[in-house]
Symmetry: D2
Subunit: 347 residues, 4 copies
Amino acid sequence: MVKVAIVGARGYTGKELLKILLAHPRADVTCLTARMEGSSKKIAEIFPSLLGQTDLECRDFDVQEVAQKSDMVFLALPHRTSLRFVPELLEMGKRVIDLSADFRFDNIDTYERWYGPEHTPQSESLLREAVYGLPELYKERIKDARLVANPGCYPTGVILGLAPILEEGLASDQNIIVDSKSGISGAGRAPEPQTHYPECNENIKAYNIVSHRHMPEMAQELAKLAQGPIKVSFVPHLVPMNRGILNTMYLSLPKGVNQAEILKLYRDFYRDEPFVRVLEGDLLPETKNVAGSNYCDVAIRVDGEAGMAIVVSALDNLVKGASGQAVQNMNIMCGFDETAGLNFFGI
Amino acid sequence: MVKVAIVGARGYTGKELLKILLAHPRADVTCLTARMEGSSKKIAEIFPSLLGQTDLECRDFDVQEVAQKSDMVFLALPHRTSLRFVPELLEMGKRVIDLSADFRFDNIDTYERWYGPEHTPQSESLLREAVYGLPELYKERIKDARLVANPGCYPTGVILGLAPILEEGLASDQNIIVDSKSGISGAGRAPEPQTHYPECNENIKAYNIVSHRHMPEMAQELAKLAQGPIKVSFVPHLVPMNRGILNTMYLSLPKGVNQAEILKLYRDFYRDEPFVRVLEGDLLPETKNVAGSNYCDVAIRVDGEAGMAIVVSALDNLVKGASGQAVQNMNIMCGFDETAGLNFFGI
Amino acid sequence: MVKVAIVGARGYTGKELLKILLAHPRADVTCLTARMEGSSKKIAEIFPSLLGQTDLECRDFDVQEVAQKSDMVFLALPHRTSLRFVPELLEMGKRVIDLSADFRFDNIDTYERWYGPEHTPQSESLLREAVYGLPELYKERIKDARLVANPGCYPTGVILGLAPILEEGLASDQNIIVDSKSGISGAGRAPEPQTHYPECNENIKAYNIVSHRHMPEMAQELAKLAQGPIKVSFVPHLVPMNRGILNTMYLSLPKGVNQAEILKLYRDFYRDEPFVRVLEGDLLPETKNVAGSNYCDVAIRVDGEAGMAIVVSALDNLVKGASGQAVQNMNIMCGFDETAGLNFFGI
Amino acid sequence: MVKVAIVGARGYTGKELLKILLAHPRADVTCLTARMEGSSKKIAEIFPSLLGQTDLECRDFDVQEVAQKSDMVFLALPHRTSLRFVPELLEMGKRVIDLSADFRFDNIDTYERWYGPEHTPQSESLLREAVYGLPELYKERIKDARLVANPGCYPTGVILGLAPILEEGLASDQNIIVDSKSGISGAGRAPEPQTHYPECNENIKAYNIVSHRHMPEMAQELAKLAQGPIKVSFVPHLVPMNRGILNTMYLSLPKGVNQAEILKLYRDFYRDEPFVRVLEGDLLPETKNVAGSNYCDVAIRVDGEAGMAIVVSALDNLVKGASGQAVQNMNIMCGFDETAGLNFFGI
């Protein structure tokens, strides 16, 4: 049993982590923190769906207390906040899975351009050590990592959707179009005008056109796969549903490449991956088929006439796009079965 | 043409007023105000659905400016705010339709118990003069009113649903159960945790059980109809949709009263009312049939075995439940056709 | 391990049974049937959310095959269909949990009035033997039952919401009002005009006012609890969401009974029941807190002024209202922990 | 006043036509038909939202009766059905606005490839005469047309979104990516498994990837604008909402073209068009801002780094995407103000 702490337990990703870890056969949740302003409260009073499942209390964050009670720390904090605590936690011998963007970038300049000049010398020195926590690409490095940077929800589905084709060298040096559609829980738990029910119900809109912070994250990972620069034109959209992301991706293909070859490429690439399902035949990903599960579903269609591959991927933004993937990383780090505690099918 | 001002134009009821009045054949919107903190802005920039329809600007409220530019003032302000401005507007010879609760109660004690000790001597003296703006009950008094207190969204549908049966003396001195279901726009335009999309989507809940402020408003009007005290057990619910209220009402019937008699009662009562539709045969009210319109649909079922009448009513909380009814009141006050500018069918 | 068959695996309750049983530590799903018109198909091709979780095939129903492969048979068939197969299955020594209404009534006349004259002499003779599968009331009888009649979705929440107060004798010989609100999955998986997306989205409506077939089922069980006749005025409503039922119930209370006493009554009644949560303080049931779980949440409010108790209950119609409860019954019948395989929290 | 008939009045586009035309200052609806199997019924009994607005009856289609009662005929029939009746209606001197695809194609081969070999010699001979009813492109020809082929819902928004840039010659001979998101009413009023509420609520999916029948329709019109072949990679998606289409379009730009130039191009192109709004500044189209109106909102973003223009357009599929546009065509054909009866703002 590994003793785990969840820092930032009041948000949607914190709650999802808790739900998964409470039922996990090898994890023991020992510590929950959130901004409680000096008080403490049973987490089941904050999230009544948990009544009868746990008596755990949520308290203000105290790095000493967290370190004392746990061996594995999940940080579900806002961007720019995690980096303050990670160096100390690692120093005290804890392993950290950070769900923020603070350690996702290899390059400090990219981070600073998109998130601001927040890193300290200590935290910056960890950028190189941190492992990008996409198990399907970095499993070996995750095993021994002290610090895992859990990927963003959009990048997870986009990278998994494009990896086989990029790694095969079929798309280097080109522009890839990523049109993504996300449910509203991706915007977090704080009420804002754009997440006010009557404003987003019965509505779909694009936002942050080619200016979303997940774009450089995708570009970094896709470039590594392609072993060359990749330009991503990323347009996210908000869809009136709670959970799920559907990514529709468009990229040029070399002449003569056909559907069957591409499908075989994907099948082979994900043969041993328990959480990526390559759909066959007429099947296409739908967010309802992955909602509540740790799966990412992927399908490919070759548009021969246009010389283009269209890839569709779907995942649950709070599970494979955040908390489920974080637990998958924990399983790998701890030598557990990769699917331990994640073998649920969703809604 | 009557010159009208909308005070509180940034909320949902203010916007709905504006949409109706811009298309109204006898009204000229001359003035829009809201809390603008010193600036002014085109209303179509605040509500882009209005682009191309109006160049009107929204400014901070100034009672002199409003009085100078308009003859009829719609106040779409929070409760406890309207009462501050009404005396002065009336003094300057304006007619006022107030969409807040500030002048709905005959009895200052009831108001103070539910809304607080806010009235000044001047505003309190107007309580008696103000006419409760439910045209189906008070048309004659509305004609000459200087001050109309526009009813609440829940009370409108409940009173219209029960009026014929109470006026007939079939339900005096008894307890009536009102189980109401409202879309989320009824909670207003300010984002709150309970109106955050992921919290209210895929969810239904009761709230303010027998403690909602619309309960005493219903009770006041129902008692007048019944010419005796009426106890209302009112339970509102929040339903995941934008617009609409459905009220399901339960009350005991004297022995031997049957469906046909009650139906005839309703038909007669609403014979000349253009906005109340008494449904016949198998038809039952559905909010989608009234959404976007000024109709209130009503149906009755007599449960002979239980000696009970079940009445169902439906309306659009922003139209017949607020802004449409306010314009209906304006039409009556100005001697226009009661349906002028309201002859649309909704979505 | 118990070998289980699911007959009617293509409907929503069949799918939910399968999801729960695939993850159940003591059950082995050995047989799936549905109307396949001579063919067979992997269930994961019918429900792609199950891809990667099971290779089970779905075939046409054959009573011999089902009996041979399984010891426990779940019938998720339309009403009036189950009764044809139950006698033979029991004769072959199988235990049966029937999710239809066919064996829920003690009295053949009530069944025939609401469902039609379908019973054969053999099936009718089993009406007396069948146990109404509400574990919180009939746990002892369920243990040894050969045939369990799994309750309807509405009756489950209504009976659990009212049982403590009725059993205490506080409401005999009276009329109880039950105003229920259900998500659309309760209408089943067959497309119909009233479940067509644009017809039920952005809409709420009442249907089958005091004529729904779950009304006599509630009345039967409530009368047993009250040890006297109970009249239920039941009005169900359709709400635009997938899952969940919220019941708001109104009944008169004897004078002087207060909130604290009633709350204590409920707490005591459900002290040892793992799946009924009596909410305390300000908490009220919301369907989102039980969706995807086997919980039924209950809260009580006493309206002293009206001499009335208002009880609110919430459950997931496909879990505690159908398939989860069926597995709970299986656990009891097999001597497993009552919560085995049901210890999930939902969405 | 023009006397109009609506053939196919029971579908969503038929109903929307009726709502618009009943309030139209220059139109008189004289005839409604649908498949009634020999009976007739008041349309307000079919669509209760129309109660109190019209006593019109809906009958079986009879071409003689339609011709006798009306001068302008709207055909809201399934594809492959309209073509049977158009020749005879024209022969009798009627003018026809056909909402199906039957007369949208210049080239019979394209029609037959996508819709089948349905045309008769008489109907085929009308393909050349029929005018593609997109007023922003073909206003002059529409004025005198006997037969207008009303555009598809997806093509309307896509063509309006791309026309200025293609006409300017900035995108000839290239591949354009069109990623569209539609509400469910676009699938029509007949219940199907894929429009069953629980199947499409809380879900988004792509369908008919590069095989949707609106793709050749877009390609035909875009090629005319570009004066050269255009390849469209069209991927439609189903979004859980009733109304609205959002199109996100991606195309390469010649080097050095910037946002300001493109914006000016659009502004100039649509300067005199009352129903296309080119959004400025930070504004982006949202379906809620056009729902219930005849507007198409368009915005452009130049992605300089990728050398790409991203165009977003939004419209209501039942209004500007079907029935509103049909009435706009009627206005032009009859010499009315183009906006007559269409000057509403939606929800």
